[in-house]
Symmetry: C2
């Protein structure tokens, strides 16, 4: 084989795999929504009354979705400390990652699509890091939802893996209580057994030759609302689907602290910083920190399927 | 002039004037935000603490933005009556219009743009009707904002009028108290003296030969947050601007009931229905109703500038 046909793996730079026509971010992990409710609205019921009836979601910014490897500049924004009378505009001090699984659609009809037919419109799945500035978000999000605390950057994984390739890893999702209304109810199994992992490295770790440190592991099969239900919900008002649209799960967290999908949850909003192997502590992301997300399916006797690695560094 | 070169005005069908790359909806009218706070969160402070510090906004759906004249099918969705234990999925009973003024951008830099330079990136302005299903919206919008209550359809006006053409109608905006933080503060006048009007007709009115009935009039110069400030806010986290992005003001309401920009406000959520010339009453939009928005600038001694008429009918 001629040498010219081979490319050094380390020399590869990933491009954005699609031109994003629409971006929606859901909030489909029961554990994440519960954790965030406790952290952001302490003393109140963590789940809003609608949470178990529909997959809550909101539209995000298409133009700041970037490829794996693209550095993420620390955003500035308005925040307000509860003790202060007025907000300030300053660089975010609570920069976070969110580990998500996203899917990409083809075009679809302008009618309500049932969960059991929704996957026909899903091209494939990819890793997604929904970078979040928690201080900006906390101040801005009432009453119309997240905006600038999210819109500065969203990193999309390098590979979109077709749903057909994941067929052997299809599993039933968690029991849903109350039972979904008919337009969101599914007969089939629409969850997928994908192991997801997030590692971090700091500048000191890298200069000391230390490998990245795994901070959280979870399996996507525990996600409360399935991709099929998310898509059924989106079309339930007659909104048509477009090719190249990106739908993210929302942060995926598990029951155990080691499975939480964001630093806000892992560090309890900074009250219990994460200890890194270098001895450094992290409540939120510092400049020079690199976040690596990876995911894949593996079972004895089957070829393993990888979603690749999604990296991004704070600059 | 050869007859073939002339086109019957009534035969014209408007197309969408741009391919929308990003859609943001603001909430920039003090009067509208106050009215909606009172209607949707009775007994609470109508404005959230952030409202006077930043132009609140959220991303919307690009793919359901349609041209003037495109019919709007009544959406179905989940809603929950406060007396009921469970929500239902059914056609919306609280379908509304929202009178807005939108602007379209060119591309911009990935840095914070000051209000006094923001208009360099604005191509022009257009009318926008942000159709809203209030029952779907009320149930879904906590905690992440409006989603399916808005995403079924948004109608964009037929003409994008360049900002240069409006120069003679530039006026100072309302006094802002507290003074905006430096990144949102402007020296120049960034409001525009544009008269906006909404008319409605019902099937019975049209078959009886009645003309459309004007239901609300307002002037855009009263908008609390200017387009320049909206755009400065969007870029304040380093998010770059893209050509063809659409930024809507949010419903524009005035102080008097006859200037309110939505039926929710005009009818007090249905408690005081609007009386039409046919004797019919409207709390919200019925099938067959047509909504016409128009806008323009006029002053003695100057050529008048029109934004055209934006129409849409519920089917």
């Amino acid at each position: 084989m001629p040498e010219q046909a081979l490319v050094e793996r380390s020399s590869i730079r990933h491009a954005l795999p699609i031109e994003v026509t629409e971006y929606v971010d859901f909030y489909s992990s029961l554990e994440h929504a519960t954790n965030m409710g406790k952290l952001f609205r302490p003393g109140m019921e963590p789940l809003t009354p609608n949470w178990r009836w529909l997959p809550i979601g909101y539209h995000g910014r298409c133009g700041s979705i970037t490829a794996s490897g693209t550095p993420v500049p620390r955003p500035s924004g308005q925040r307000k400390d509860s003790q202060e009378g007025a907000p300030i505009y300053a660089p975010s001090r609570m920069l976070d990652f969110e580990r998500e699984l996203a899917f990409v659609t083809g075009a679809g009809p302008a009618r309500s699509v049932a969960p059991d037919e929704a996957e026909e419109y899903i091209f494939g799945v990819a890793l997604l890091n929904d970078w979040s500035a928690r201080d900006i978000q906390a101040w801005e999000y009432q009453p119309l939802g997240p905006f600038l605390g999210k819109s500065f950057a969203t990193s999309l994984g390098p590979w979109i893996v077709m749903l057909d390739a994941l067929e052997a890893f299809r599993v039933p999702g968690p029991r849903q209580e109350p039972a979904p209304l008919p337009h969101l109810a599914a007969d089939g199994a629409h969850a997928f057994d994908i192991a997801l992992e997030v590692s971090m490295s700091t500048e000191r770790m890298r200069s000391g030759g230390r490998p990245p440190h795994i901070v959280t592991r979870v399996n996507s099969s525990g996600l409360y609302w399935s991709m099929a239900q998310q898509l059924a919900h989106v079309t339930s008002n007659g909104s048509p689907l477009r090719a190249g649209s990106l739908y993210a799960s929302g942060t995926i967290s598990g029951v155990q602290p080691g499975s939480y999908g964001s630093m806000a949850e892992l560090s309890s909003l900074g009250r219990e910083p994460i200890l890194m192997p270098s001895g450094e502590r992290r409540s939120f992301l510092e400049d020079g920190d690199t976040v690596m997300m990876s995911g894949g399916c593996a079972r004895e006797g089957l070829a393993s399927i990888g979603l690749g690695t999604l990296t991004g560094s704070i600059i």
